[in-house]
């Protein structure tokens, strides 16, 4: 019975995903095609001095001489089969580029989200244990300030400072991530900072609320310590809104990936998109955007499932809100 509910929710989500994919592919295609000539990308970037003959040949080879509608349908077919066609600038199948670029982005985004959660929960624990006395209040104000600064500090600046301190200054960590896992540290931290600030705010807010809830008072009246009240009661309640936001947060991590990948010279879908968008490489842009959209849908589904795991009340109802 529960399985059926989840299956239905999956179906709804996938239906929405297909719609998202179709709409984004359409919008991106027409926006990019109507605002400029993709031939530029094919002919080796802007300012190409290629002759007329070469240009015509390429136009034909990439099917750009066909009517726009035909091109659109071809692109749509490519999108539907998740092949996306060949990159204009890289002369390579987009699917291959995506396969190479998606995993590194997923790795740092996922690690960053986990790190953000760890930081946020640690912060909550410190606040809970520090209590409500003078010290506790001071710690809480300090953390609140840190939260605010973290959520508004420009990522490229945070990253630059981290590089300056930990790579050039102390020489502790590599500035770029080659193949060693230590190279992940700085980009992941940079990526995690604003999300941690944001989640911490949401979590602290709902923790204060959950802290006054009768079940928390009751737990204290049973002799539970503050850490115990946090971990077995209030945190789970407070985590629900933050968990729901984590799906959104993942999206903003992908935004951040564009910046972080450029700064730390990491391979990834953000950097690929940035490059493709500047040279108007239509198939790559559509491929990247569609994959990001699908990723978003998948993440939302995952965060729904997680919420169900944490909140048995939803499980009982057996319906995942679409």
């Amino acid at each position: 019975m529960r399985a059926r509910g989840i299956a239905r929710a999956f179906a709804t989500r996938i239906g929405a995903a297909l719609l998202v994919v179709w709409l984004t592919a359409t919008v991106v295609f027409f926006a990019l095609r109507l605002s400029g000539d993709p031939l530029e990308a094919i002919m080796g970037g802007p300012g190409s001095q290629a002759g007329a003959e070469a240009t015509d040949r390429a136009r034909e080879a990439y099917g750009l001489d066909r009517p726009l509608v035909v091109q659109y349908l071809a692109q749509l077919w490519n999108t539907a089969t998740l092949q996306f066609g060949d990159s204009y600038s890289r002369k390579q199948p987009v699917a291959e580029l995506l396969a190479a670029n998606l995993p590194p982005t997923l790795v740092i985004a996922t690690l960053a989200l986990l790190l953000a959660w760890v930081l946020v929960v640690l912060g909550a624990l410190v606040v809970a244990v520090a209590g409500r006395g003078r010290v506790g209040r001071a710690i809480r104000s300090a953390l609140a300030g840190l939260e605010t600064v973290a959520s508004v500090a420009p990522q490229f600046f945070v990253g630059a400072v981290l590089i300056l301190v930990f790579a050039s200054g102390l020489g502790l960590l590599p500035a770029t991530s080659g193949s060693s896992p230590t190279g992940l540290v700085l980009p992941v931290v940079t990526l995690a900072v604003p999300i941690a600030g944001y989640l911490a705010h949401v979590l602290q807010g709902s923790l204060v609320e959950a802290d006054d809830a009768p079940f928390a008072v009751t737990a204290r009246s049973r002799g539970a310590s503050e850490a115990r009240v946090l971990f077995s009661h209030t945190l789970r309640h407070a985590a629900l809104p933050a968990l729901a936001l984590s799906g959104w947060a993942y999206g903003s991590l992908l935004s951040g990936a564009v910046v972080v990948e450029a700064l730390f010279a990491r391979q990834g879908i953000g950097r690929m998109l940035l490059e493709a968008a500047t040279v108007r490489d239509v198939p790559v842009v559509i491929g990247a955007v569609v994959v990001i959209a699908l990723l978003y849908v998948a993440i939302m589904l995952l965060s729904d499932l997680l919420e169900h795991l944490v909140d048995p009340r939803l499980r009982r109802r057996g319906v995942i809100p679409a």
Partner: protein, 541 residues
């Protein structure tokens, strides 16, 4: 450092709890950065410390049940929390006492850690908000066993203790409930599970804050019976309530609290029969009992609500069905009703009987699936006093605007309306969120009256209120009916309250009317076994 000192009491037994001169004060409104502003907002204006408890003396012996009663806001809940050391941990409070001895230890000197130990072993609390006191995300087993878990007691041992406690609390089939969560239990079952969680570690003292107010009368009776048993097993109980009538059944002694002070204390019998202090007397008087008082106007021939009065509204087999969680349907299943000008009709039934649904159909907030609502007199105005009035006020509006917006007769002023419900003009500038439950209820009534209604549908207008406020509102409703000829539909689960207002009652169960007739006739001769049970719980005292 800790000196164990036995406190001699009147009959020689050692008290589990003894306090002398206990005071608790709330610091000024600046509760500190990061703390929720909610707690202090309604405290309003003045800075400086505000005493909430003021020199309380109290003593509870093993096997004894002491009841603390008092109006809403008297400080009962604060007292309960203070006795368990919970207010002390909150920097917003300052607590002082001449003597404070709990389970043989001087509680004034306990560190937070020692307090935790004490709470986990010797004392426990059942909080006022029973329905939310069990963590909805955790299993009953985890919740009930928490006091043991916090003490590091092993899993299997804990489970046995939990099952024992649940069975002791009268929860049938306890073993199968372990994996359930509070959302899967009914209100009464939740209350029992909560009591089980407070008794699982066999404390010497149980403090129960309003354990029955959230329950319908039949369930409440069962819960009180449970307390009686617990007491007999030797546990000391401190029972807190605003309802004198109900605590009287289990309490050995009663302390009356008024504005943070104990104004009267003594044996239960004595307090109920011969209340000495005016506050106590008011509490006792306010217990709704007996039939509707006869007024002068009732004797005249053209008394409102007589069978010859014109009909205003009629329901013909009205039904409104909702899917129930178990797969069936609930709601309302075909109700017939004719409402005449000037009469007062009571609608009584357990929680979930369909009373609110009926009320909402009457005012047109809900359309029936089947059957019809007939406005016999098309010009008649019908207004609702909702079960939860706060949600029906625009949170940005002040009382003045709320009343003006509903006013039909330009000649009347909001001040006049306020006066009618016994509130002064100073309330015009308040926001409903800052008012007490009773005040909100009265504003809701004033707003309904602003439209000059012919029919007033009141959905549980008094169930959330303390007895004194309740009495005032009941009087007001009677007045409206008798003086102004307003037809009343009075929805409640409290038969005793309905009896003091209504001429006629409908008894509802599972969306159907099981019995109806003149109030006194139904009381004298209930036809349905369910009605009989309701009446029994309403008249027992």
């Amino acid at each position: 450092m800790l000196v164990t000192r036995s406190v001699p009491t009147g009959d020689g037994a050692t008290a589990v709890l003894e306090v002398e001169g206990l005071s608790a004060a709330l610091r000024g409104p600046r509760a500190g950065f990061g703390a929720s502003a909610r707690g202090t907002r309604d405290a309003g204006g003045p800075t400086g410390d505000r005493p909430v408890l003021d020199g309380i003396d109290l003593r509870v012996r093993p096997g004894e049940c002491v009841a603390v009663v008092g109006e809403s806001g008297a400080g009962k809940s604060v007292l309960a929390r203070t006795l368990l050391g919970l207010t002390q941990a909150d920097p917003r409070w300052t607590v002082r006492a001449d003597a404070f001895e709990a389970a043989g230890r001087d509680a004034r000197r306990l560190t937070p850690r020692q307090w935790r130990g004490l709470r986990g072993r010797s004392m426990s609390l059942v909080l006022q908000d029973a329905l939310q006191s069990l963590d909805p995300l955790r299993t009953i087993e985890a919740e009930v066993g928490e006091a043991l878990a916090a003490r590091g007691i092993g899993r299997s041992e804990r489970r046995a203790a939990v099952i024992r406690a649940l069975e002791g609390a009268g929860l049938p089939d306890a073993a199968s409930r372990l994996r359930q969560r509070s959302g899967e239990l009914s209100g009464g079952m939740r209350q029992r599970a909560l009591i089980a969680s407070a008794l699982v570690h066999e404390p010497e003292l149980l403090v129960a804050d309003e354990p029955t107010t959230a329950l319908d009368p039949t369930t409440a009776t069962r819960v009180l019976r449970l307390f009686d048993e617990v007491k007999r097993r030797g546990t000391a109980i401190l029972l807190i309530s605003h309802d004198l009538a109900s605590v009287a059944r289990v309490a050995d002694r009663i302390a009356v609290l008024d504005r943070g002070r104990v104004v009267e204390q003594g044996a239960a019998e004595q307090i109920l029969r011969r209340p000495a202090h005016p506050v106590t007397r008011a509490l006792v008087d306010a217990i709704p009992r007996g039939p509707k008082p006869r007024s002068a106007s009732r004797t005249t021939a053209e008394a409102p609500g007589s069978p010859d009065s014109p009909a205003l509204l009629a329901l013909h087999g009205a039904a409104r069905r909702f899917p129930a969680p178990d797969g069936g349907t609930t709601g309302l299943h075909g109700v017939d009703l004719v409402l005449r000008r000037g009469e007062a009709v009571g609608v009584v039934g357990e929680s979930g009987a369909g009373k609110s649904t009926l009320a909402r159909i009457l005012v047109g907030a809900e359309q029936p699936d089947a059957g019809a609502v007939e406005r016999v007199d098309p010009g008649c105005r019908v207004r609702l006093i909702p079960q939860d009035p706060l949600s029906t006020f625009d949170p940005r509006w002040r009382v003045g605007r709320i009343l003006t917006a509903s006013l039909r007769d330009a000649g009347r002023s909001p001040v006049e309306l306020l006066a009618q419900v016994g509130l002064g003009p100073e309330y015009l500038h308040r926001r409903p969120a800052t008012l007490s439950g009773g005040q909100r209820q009265r504003i809701a009534i004033a707003r309904a009256l602003a439209a000059e209604p012919d029919v007033l549908v009141c959905d549980e207008p008094v169930s959330a209120l303390d007895v004194t406020t309740q009495a005032g509102i009941l009087r007001l409703l009677r007045d409206l009916q008798e003086r102004r000829g307003v037809s009343l539909v009075f929805v409640s689960h409290d038969l005793a309250a309905v009896r003091t207002v209504c001429d006629r009652v409908l008894i509802m169960r599972d969306g159907r009317v099981v019995e109806s007739g003149e109030t006194e006739r139904v009381f004298a001769d209930p036809g349905d076994p369910f009605t009989r049970e309701l009446i029994a719980s309403a008249t027992a005292d």
